[in-house]
Amino acid sequence: MNKVKQKDLILYSGLIILGLAAPYLFSAFKVQLTYLCVLIVLAMTWNLQGGEMGYNTFGNILFYGLGMYLTASVQVGMFFPLAEWTESGGEKTFVHTTAQYFQGIGVGLLVSAIIPAIVAGAIGYAILGLRGHYFAICTLGLGIAAGEIAGGIEIIGAGQGFTTPPFPAEIVDTEARGKFFYFLSFALLIGTFVFVKYIYGSRFKLILNAIRDNEDKAEAMGIQTMKYKITGWMCSAFFCGLAGGIMGGLIGYIDSTDVAFDGREMGVFMVLMAILGGKGTLWGPVIGATLFHFFKEGLWTLILGWQYVALGVLIVVIVIYFPEGLMGWLREKYPERFGEVIDEKDRKAQVELK
């Protein structure tokens, strides 16, 4: 047992060192690495819903977009009038000083973590009572409705978008912006991973699995399923909001339907990544997101213009042929590595039965 832990320790410290060194090793790809961290966070939090709880949601994009708008709004609103900022290229008239910028983004991220979690808690009772595909469609509608409504609200820029505060010009180091956002997202990734790993070792995960496998029976066993479902969703919303806030700062421009409530891209990506890696596993979403990101960045430029066709075909192929994902496939192939013991006698008996 001790040996296994030592192995884990080497693995984790190796990954953390790699993560810390990455922006220096691949300094041209800092933005891509930041994207990767955010994608992994989104996939892992989606996995809590879709993989562990069995509630396949398209609605986590709601919290992502909400976090994005909240961070930017707080960052601007703390120092300048928000309405004037969004009305006419406010980033030229009002300039954040270095201190103001970092204060703003700090408070903004805090708000963008808490408010989505509160929203998730508030709508959770109504929405999480839906089962199966009704839940999926409802959350899909919720995400798109949020985008359409945000596109009609004047104070956050309506349809013409919202420019987030530019990185303070007083910092001379041109690499600073990339590094700042990379380390921010990396910290978020570590935080999410530690949290999810903690959940995987707790009773909470078993309860979520019980809900996935048979909700009525879980309820009959005396588990207050609704309480746990809402808690699970709030955890996801917390991290999705943070991820959205960081992405808003990185992209520098928020559009209601193409960047923030981007159900057509981000909203599908997170589902796809979790399924590709294998839902219901700790490492599945991480591997899935990494593979997907490499695939996307490698192929997107080669097949310019056809990327959405490729994405659509990829979705169909993955969903139909690999619904268990990479981890599921590995598990089938090497069950002993996953701690599953196969009773040879039993297996032979089953084969004979067939």
Binding site: I137, A145, I149, L311, P323
Partner: protein, 297 residues
């Protein structure tokens, strides 16, 4: 918020007529949705994109110089084969599986369709001119495009024809038998695979008709498919599977809701209102059902 509509009765008449005529069109799409949901137990997110594709077929005819109204005959025929092809390629692998798999797989199809239509027809908003003119009612205070009346009439015509076909023909009976119990139908010699393919084809054909009508009454754009999917999904939930009068009624109700939302909230919130209505209907349904469950306890 703009409550002008409640002060002017003529605006209300206008909105109501528009809504009802539009709603009949939505009901036609929803009928296809109910058909495939009931028979094959799949939810097709690409439904709206099939509609838009059907619309583009009529629009292409318009560009070539044929009157787009002929699209209501040509478009379903082409779309039937598109539907059967789609069934053979993808859909036959998601029948009998988890509904979420069908949702995701058809989501993938929807993305492919959107992008291909974007390549072929461009990203502009287009409309096929039918040049049917408008009818003026109540001293010219209510204007009604004749194309809308035409589209409602054609929708009703096709819906009635389909109902009769489903009742009387051999294939229609096989489809209904499969919907009731696929296994029993198989035992009694129904080739369910063929029935599924035909069902999906008929659904696509219905989408084709609706699309051709939309190309002359409303506008077409490669990325506006999803609202049509959601509308038809909503109508089916409210009306239930296989209840045709209810489908027609709730379709009209949805049309009315949209027109009034358009006037009161403003056009920019129209699609948002549709999606919010979906959320509200689902949540309402959930509370109603949970009450029933508690009662059973």
């Amino acid at each position: 918020m703009d409550f002008l509509i409640f002060k002017a009765p003529m605006l209300m008449v206008q909105a109501s007529l528009d809504g009802i005529l539009l709603g009949i069109l939505f009901a036609l799409i929803a009928y296809g949705m109910a058909l495939q949901w009931g028979v094959m137990n799949i939810i097709n997110i690409a439904q709206g994109d099939l509609v838009i594709l059907g619309g583009y077929i009529a629009y292409t005819m318009y560009l070539v110089g044929i009157h787009p109204a002929w699209g209501v005959i040509v478009s379903p025929i082409i779309m039937y084969f598109v539907g059967v092809l789609l069934y053979k390629l993808v859909i036959n692998k998601v029948v009998d599986r988890d509904l979420f798999i069908s949702i995701l797989a058809t989501f993938g199809i929807a993305i492919v369709f959107q992008q291909l239509m974007n390549f072929i027809f461009g990203a502009d908003v287009v409309v096929a001119q039918s040049e049917y003119g408008t009818t003026m009612l109540f001293d010219n205070s209510v204007t009604l495009p004749n194309s809308k009346i035409f589209s409602a009439f054609i929708s009703v015509l096709y819906a009635v024809a389909l109902v009769i076909y489903m009742k009387k023909s051999r294939l229609g009976r096989a489809i209904r038998a499969t919907a009731q119990n696929a296994r029993a139908a198989k035992i009694l010699g129904v080739d369910t695979e063929k029935v599924y393919a035909a069902t999906f084809g008929i659904n696509a054909a219905l989408c084709g008709i609706a699309g051709a009508l939309i190309s002359i009454t409303l506008t077409l754009h490669p990325y506006v498919g999803l609202p049509y999917t959601v509308r038809s999904f909503m109508i089916v939930i409210v009306a239930g599977l296989g209840n045709l009068p209810a489908v027609a009624l709730s379709g009209m109700g949805l049309g009315l809701f949209e027109e009034f939302a358009d006037y009161i909230l403003g056009t920019e919130f129209r699609i948002g209102a549709v999606f919010m209505l979906l959320v509200f209907i689902l949540v309402y349904r959930r509370f109603k059902l949970s009450k029933k469950r508690e009662y059973l306890k």
